[in-house]
């Protein structure tokens, strides 16, 4: 564990620290003395940032800082749930495709190609048309966009493993295909899955906030960082702190995930693209 942290550089460590800080803030936010995110008229409407209201107030006089803190939790939670569900499905499909080959492989690989051809936000518009806007739709959009990532990587790693000696040995010893996949292949692809998980989480957060910004994500009173941005953008020119604060926090959260993801990749796949240094 410590050797992993020793290898990553200052920027990645900063990203990881930021990620831990934001997740903790989102989790314990409701218990911190930040003010009530729902209390209407806590201060004057659209007042600029002050000691009492560090991120200013919104058009209903609600303190914006606790709303942003709640938004962090909503954004992380929805994206993480979506990406974890997708990772499980994608890993299973990728393993089946890579291990069994043949028709199963063709079906899964073409399916991944088909999903990959939909631009994420357009898939979001289509899904919003079919299912109506909401959190479930947002999760579906994130799944459509990130499933191909998991399938492709897991499939190619499984393909490389399938002919290795210990897999063949397990098969010769009479292990069932599912046992081989779960006991022998899964532990060897988990690193690749985790690397994709960090990329997918950052993509998921961007998609969630973009959908919320367009009004196609979770509906009020659900408020993620993207919905707060949408709310604030109506007052962009005379109350810019709403958009600037939620936008800055959102960007920082995505960057924290990205930097942590880079560090995870460097730790788990140290040779990839690092042959010079």
């Amino acid at each position: 564990m410590f050797s992993i942290f020793g290898r990553i550089d200052r920027l990645s460590r900063f990203g990881f620290g930021l990620l831990v800080f934001l997740i903790l803030l989102g989790l314990i936010g409701p218990y911190l003395p930040l003010g009530d995110p729902m209390r209407i008229g806590a201060g004057p409407r659209l007042s600029s940032p002050s000691w009492l209201f560090p991120f200013g107030t919104d058009e209903l006089g609600r303190s914006f800082l606790p709303r942003v803190v709640d938004g962090i939790r909503a954004t992380f939670l929805l994206s993480a749930v979506a990406v974890i569900i997708t990772a499980i499905i994608g890993t299973l499909l990728g393993m089946v495709a890579g291990f069994f080959g043949g028709v199963a492989d063709q079906v899964v690989a073409r399916g991944a190609d088909i999903l990959f051809s939909f631009p994420a936000i357009l898939a979001g518009l289509l899904i919003a048309a079919v299912m109506g806007p909401g959190q479930i739709s947002a999760i579906a959009v994130i799944s459509v966009a990130t499933l191909p990532l998991f399938i492709r990587v897991v499939r190619s790693v499984t393909l490389g493993l399938a002919s290795r000696g210990f897999i063949v040995a397990a098969q010769v010893a009479g292990a069932s295909p599912w046992r081989v996949m779960i006991v022998h292949i899964l532990p060897n692809i988990i690193g690749a899955v985790i690397v994709q998980l960090t990329y997918a989480l950052s993509i998921g957060m961007i998609i969630e906030s973009a959908l919320s910004f367009l009004g196609l994500g979770g509906q009020a009173p659900y408020a993620s960082l993207g919905s707060l941005l949408r709310q604030g953008s109506a007052y962009l020119t005379f109350a810019p702190w709403l958009v600037l604060s939620s936008g800055a926090v959102l960007s920082a959260a995505i960057m924290a995930v990205n930097l942590t993801g880079d560090a995870v990749r460097d730790a788990l796949e140290p040779l990839k693209g690092r042959s010079l240094t």
């Binding site: 939909f118 936000i121 357009l122 518009l125 289509l126 961007i206 906030s209 020119t237 958009v243 693209g273």
Partner: protein, 319 residues
């Protein structure tokens, strides 16, 4: 011959993918709550009228027959009519396509102009070099700041201090080229940030890999100028991954710039599809998703062709 043998399977796979996309889009629209009759005639539709609508539009036939009919119409360029304007959907898209194309080309130009030099710099800079750090920072920012955050920031800055650039108020480049540029630069810049990061990271990784090759050492030992080494050896050999991401990015730009077009009120394809959803004009959403996916698939196929033209090893069986 080599190129044909290499390209033919790609073409078949692309056709299968496109068929799958069309089936998904067709099914998605069939699953919209409330039938076609409800959308067309409102909530107080009588069973007889519902029946008549179903017969008239072929909705009483099996799903597969409906799909094949729909597919047949697609091949003749019939994507249905807008329920709001009654105009053929395809015409509406073709009318707006140049706007989105201009935006995509501008954004692509910015992405290459920013991403390539920084990526090469990051790839050849010694550890701790200032340029390398700058490149990493730009890469991290570009991959993390969502386009609507940057766009909102730019709108704020340029609407408070009325600098030369304009927000909104699109004009055609034929009527007023300068005015067109004044409105298009900000959205193009907004879209390009992600592209800069994408090109930068890919270029850096590709250059890092190429730099370890023996022919670079040889070129250095021969005393070739660094500029020539980069131009003749490094760039040429890192071209394929760069082309891959650039085409994926361009495909995304052509169909997926919904958020930025809505934010800046650019009357392109993305804005049109979004307003289609808002007006419950689902024929537009359906056609839009289909067109975007088709463009994406075609562009990736062109990229496959480009690999074979650039690199004689591709598809020769010696790769």
């Amino acid at each position: 011959m080599r190129i044909l043998l290499y390209f033919l399977p790609k073409l078949i796979f692309a056709s299968i993918t496109m068929l799958g996309v069309s089936a998904l889009v067709f099914l998605a629209l069939r699953m919209i709550p409330g039938g076609y009759a409800d959308v067309l005639l409102g909530p107080f539709v009588t069973p007889e009228a519902r029946e008549a609508i179903a017969v008239r539009y072929g909705l009483d036939q099996p799903l597969l027959v409906q799909y094949l009919n729909w597919l047949g119409a697609l091949f003749q360029g019939d994507m249905g009519v807008s329920m709001v304007t009654r105009a053929p959907v395809l015409d509406e898209f073709l009318r707006r396509a140049p706007v989105t194309l201009e935006l995509a080309l501008l954004a692509l130009a910015f992405a290459l102009a920013g991403g390539l030099p920084l990526g090469i710099l990051a790839g050849i800079a010694p550890p701790g070099h200032r340029g390398g750090i700058l490149a990493r920072l730009v890469g991290a920012l570009g991959a993390s700041v969502p386009d609507f955050v940057l766009g909102s920031l730019l709108i704020f800055v340029f609407s408070v201090w009325s600098l030369w650039l304009r927000v909104g108020g699109y004009v055609s480049p034929i009527e007023d080229p300068v005015g067109n540029l004044r409105t298009m630069l900000l959205p193009a810049l907004t879209l390009s940030l992600f592209g800069i990061a994408l090109v930068l990271r890919t270029t850096r990784d590709a250059v890092l890999r190429v730099m370890t090759e023996g022919y670079i050492t040889t070129a250095l030992a021969r005393g070739e100028r660094p500029f020539d080494i980069i131009r003749l050896h490094v760039l040429r050999n890192s071209a394929i991954p760069i082309i891959t991401v650039v085409t994926t990015y361009f495909g995304f730009l052509l169909g997926g710039a919904v958020v930025v077009e809505v934010l800046f009120s650019i009357p392109g394809i993305g804005f049109f599809i979004f307003s289609g959803l808002e007006n419950r004009d689902y024929a537009i959403v359906q056609a839009g998703v289909l067109i975007a996916a088709a463009v994406f698939i075609s562009i990736n196929m062109l990229a496959d062709l480009a690999y074979a033209l650039i690199d004689p090893r591709v598809g020769s069986g010696r790769h």
